[in-house]
């Protein structure tokens, strides 16, 4: 047991921070809000060339073979600098392909990520939510040598720029029998796909995606059919925990900005940071950020050391949602009227953290899932021995 970073983890954190401090000022994040591709191809190429995009992929596919929580450290830095790169969705999808895909699928997809700056993403959420196989109504009907996909996915990030998208589908046999939920690797440019771009508080690339008679080959089905629900559940947990890490990175920075401002802004004859009302607000911000960071790191560590979903991911994301939006708001509050202006850097953080808090599960959805894992399982609970996660078990 050791919650602190070891020397190798610190080295990754330092190197990524150094790069992004230099190459990813918030002006870059702001300018990318106005370009159609929604991310900085230059910065994404730099991250790829330096090996950060493939850090957690196996060496045989061009990666560095580091465990998933190193990706969490990078996500923290991406959040800290609001770096406009499709890192998170690419890491999540590549981790799921690596964990659940066949050797052929891994060989087909992963070198593109590690070596050619490919972007990956995932499409899971529908009207019925995220945590229940019954929510998956997009169908993949077996036909000939492949599948035909129909239905609508909601809130899909980076879909327009991705080379491949993992889509959670309900597999239907040629005879019309429900074979259960599975992930399918879909080309976002395949005929029959249309998208509805959304205007998000983050002003990033998010869409609803419609599939109408989209034909995919049989080898699009990720791994074994029977592993489908577990793969989808792990995807949701992996994305939730990484998003929490990214939110923690952003919120830590927004807290630091507020603290720095409170030291130089004077009122009533002293820096406002000398007033306890401001100090105690800042202390709470630090506690909330630390708490999220610890929960997210723990969740990612356990996902990497388990074979399936982990309730810890929902702990991290629900806490991030409930505590980090107020952290950003507190930073705005400390900035006074400046906090309401478009040019204030803090607002970039507020808009993004608020958007991320609404993605991959809001607090009540995650709470429902945590409650089910605690209350609907046999035996007594202990905080340090979480019962096995049960989402997508049906």
């Amino acid at each position: 047991m050791d919650t602190l970073l070891d020397s190798q983890e610190l080295e990754v954190q330092r190197a990524v921070r150094e790069l992004l401090e230099k190459e990813s000022p918030t002006t870059l994040a702001r300018s990318v809000e106005r370009v159609p591709e929604g991310y900085s191809t230059d910065l994404w190429k730099q991250l790829g060339d330096l090996g950060w995009s493939g850090l957690c992929l196996p060496e045989q596919f061009g990666g560095a073979g580091m465990p998933l929580w190193y990706g969490g450290l990078i996500a923290e830095e991406v959040g800290r600098h609001l770096s406009p790169v499709p890192y998170l969705t690419t890491l999540v999808a590549s981790y799921i392909v690596d964990t659940f895909g066949t050797f052929e699928q891994r060989q087909r997809i992963l070198p593109g990520v590690a070596q050619h700056q490919h972007v990956l993403t995932y499409a899971v959420e529908e009207r019925g939510g995220l945590f229940d196989p019954r929510s998956v109504t997009v169908t993949a009907r077996r036909e000939g040598d492949g599948f035909v996909v129909d239905g609508v996915k909601r809130f899909v990030d980076n879909f327009g720029v991705a080379q491949a998208c993992l889509v959670a589908c309900r597999v239907i046999s040629a005879a019309g029998r429900d074979e259960g939920v599975a992930l399918l690797l879909v080309d976002p440019h395949a005929p029959g796909i249309s998208t509805t771009p959304l205007v998000t508080t983050a002003k990033d690339d998010e869409r609803h995606v419609s599939f109408a008679g989209v034909r995919v080959a049989s080898d699009a089905l990720l791994g074994e059919l029977a592993q489908g629900p577990r793969a989808a559940a792990t995807l949701v947990d992996c994305a939730s925990a990484l998003l929490a890490a990214q939110m923690a990175g952003a919120a830590r920075r927004v807290m630091e900005v507020a603290v720095a401002y409170a030291k130089i802004r004077h009122a009533f004859g002293q820096p406002i940071g000398a007033f306890q009302s401001i100090q105690h607000l800042c202390a709470d911000m630090l506690i909330w950020v630390d708490g999220t960071e610890l929960l997210a790191r723990e969740a990612l560590w356990w996902i990497a050391n388990s074979t399936g979903p982990r309730t810890e991911a929902s702990q991290a994301k629900s806490f991030a949602n409930l505590r980090l939006v107020p952290t950003c708001r507190a930073s705005q509050q400390i900035h006074g009227g400046m906090g309401f202006t478009a040019e204030c850097e803090v607002n970039l953080y507020y808009r993004r953290v608020a958007a991320w808090a609404g993605r991959m599960g809001n607090a009540s959805q995650h709470h429902r899932r945590i409650a089910a894992d605690l209350l609907d399982t046999p035996g007594e609970v202990r905080l340090d021995a979480m019962p096995p996660a049960r989402n997508w078990a049906a």
Binding site: M1, H280, A283, I287, E312, Q315, F319
Partner: protein, 407 residues
């Protein structure tokens, strides 16, 4: 990072849990709850504690030369946590011992620290006075040098365990200085010294007494009067006038670690287990509102756990806290209070029934928690004082008034 204990640590935990199942029975628990006890442990608990010490589970991370095992902080944490779960404070040296190791003479270290780990020496902390709590500079209790002795006069307040302690770990004023924290000194005084009078202060938890594992379920604390108490000068710890900085040693012992973590979160486990196991809770178990509250408080409790493990990790690496201990001492106590109030709203009429009441829940555990939880926000540095520390040490914010003209 690594978020699992090692195999060796897990084995230790299982061994301790097996020991507890075998040895900590109802008689021991009755002794622990006995409000008329005049010694630190009752006779049966004393015997069990000797067995615990024989197994090498006391003072695991303390130096061998002073009665410890010279082992890992996390091993000690495991022992503290498991015994904490059954209401027993077992593990390290108690109040005073860290400061004695840091500032004591060799003779003081050998005399007090092994006993403090082994249970034969129990210090009651004598800092607080009627007019001096968090602001120790307000201490008025006086110690005047008279030849080879000091003569001490004053009053101490909220002196927990004074009635079962063997010694008083006393902070007193040895001179009046312009610097607020100068002129304070620390003394190690036998509790049976002539001139010491202990009076009980009954707490909000007295009559009916709280069940075991209540957050601050102690029915009594004490006030201590010192009336011309004469002690040899060898009772002085460290240099005269250096008491404030010596006194900072070991304050974290009371603010962080297994004991405060456990007291802050046991109710969160108890609530889940109650909803799962009690037939009368079936409606609540199915209620989406209750389930949301339970999940949120559970997650907050995990933050208590992780902050405690962060503190343990820092200590294991031999590091010093900057703000982490203070942050833990804000989050855990306030979480405990939020939990008691949220659960009270779920449990309704039965939730406010105390121990001995007909129809209460788990001997009134949730009701007594509601009475006791806020105490953790007050003692050993209030959450307000702790937030000051987080802001100033963790974030480098300036002291109030430091920039004002004329100051």
């Amino acid at each position: 990072m690594r978020f699992a204990f090692s195999d060796q640590q897990e084995a230790l935990r299982q061994e301790v849990r097996a020991f507890i199942r075998e040895h900590i029975d109802e008689e021991i628990q009755a002794e622990l709850l006995d409000r008329n006890r005049t010694t630190h442990w009752g006779p049966k608990t004393e015997a069990v504690f000797e067995e615990i010490a024989r197994r090498g589970w006391t003072g695991i991370s303390w130096p061998v030369e002073y009665g410890g095992q010279g082992g890992h902080r996390l091993d000690q944490y495991i022992v503290e946590e498991e015994f904490g779960r059954v209401g027993m404070h077992v593990g390290g040296g108690g109040t005073g011992a860290p400061a004695i190791v840091a500032a004591g003479t060799e003779e003081q270290k050998c005399r007090y620290v092994p006993g403090s780990i082994g249970g034969s020496v129990v210090f009651a902390q004598g800092y607080t006075e009627p007019a001096a709590g968090a602001d120790l500079a307000g201490i008025q209790c006086k110690a005047v040098r008279d030849g080879d002795e000091y003569v001490i006069n004053g009053q101490k307040m909220f002196t927990t365990d004074a009635h079962v302690a063997t010694h008083l770990y006393l902070m007193a004023r040895t001179s009046v200085e312009p610097n607020r924290h100068a002129g304070l000194s620390i003394f190690l005084i036998p509790m049976d010294a002539p001139g010491i009078t202990i009076r009980p202060i009954w707490t909000i938890q007295n009559n009916p007494a709280a069940p075991i594992n209540t957050i601050y379920g102690e029915p009594r604390t004490n006030e201590v009067f010192l009336d011309n108490v004469r002690v040899p000068a060898s009772c002085l710890l460290g240099e005269e006038g250096n008491g404030w900085s010596i006194g900072q040693q070991g304050l974290n012992l009371d603010r962080v670690g297994a004991r405060r973590y456990i007291m802050s979160v046991l109710q969160n486990e108890a609530m889940v287990n109650y909803l799962k196991q009690d037939e009368e809770a079936a409606d609540l178990h199915a209620d989406p509102v209750a389930r949301d509250v339970v999940a949120q408080m559970w997650t907050e409790a995990q933050v208590c756990r992780l902050m405690t493990l962060r503190s343990m990790s820092i200590e294991e690496h031999g590091g010093q806290f900057t703000y982490e201990g203070a942050a833990e001492k804000v989050w855990a106590p306030e979480h405990a209070v939020r939990s008691t109030e949220a659960y009270a709203q779920l449990l309704g009429g039965r939730g406010q029934l105390l121990n001995t009441s007909p129809d209460n829940i788990e001997d009134g555990l949730f009701a007594h928690n509601m009475l006791g939880a806020f105490q953790s926000c007050v003692n050993h540095g209030s959450v307000q004082v702790m937030r000051d520390q987080v802001a100033r040490r963790g974030l480098g914010l300036p002291r109030p008034g430091a920039h004002k003209k004329g100051n």
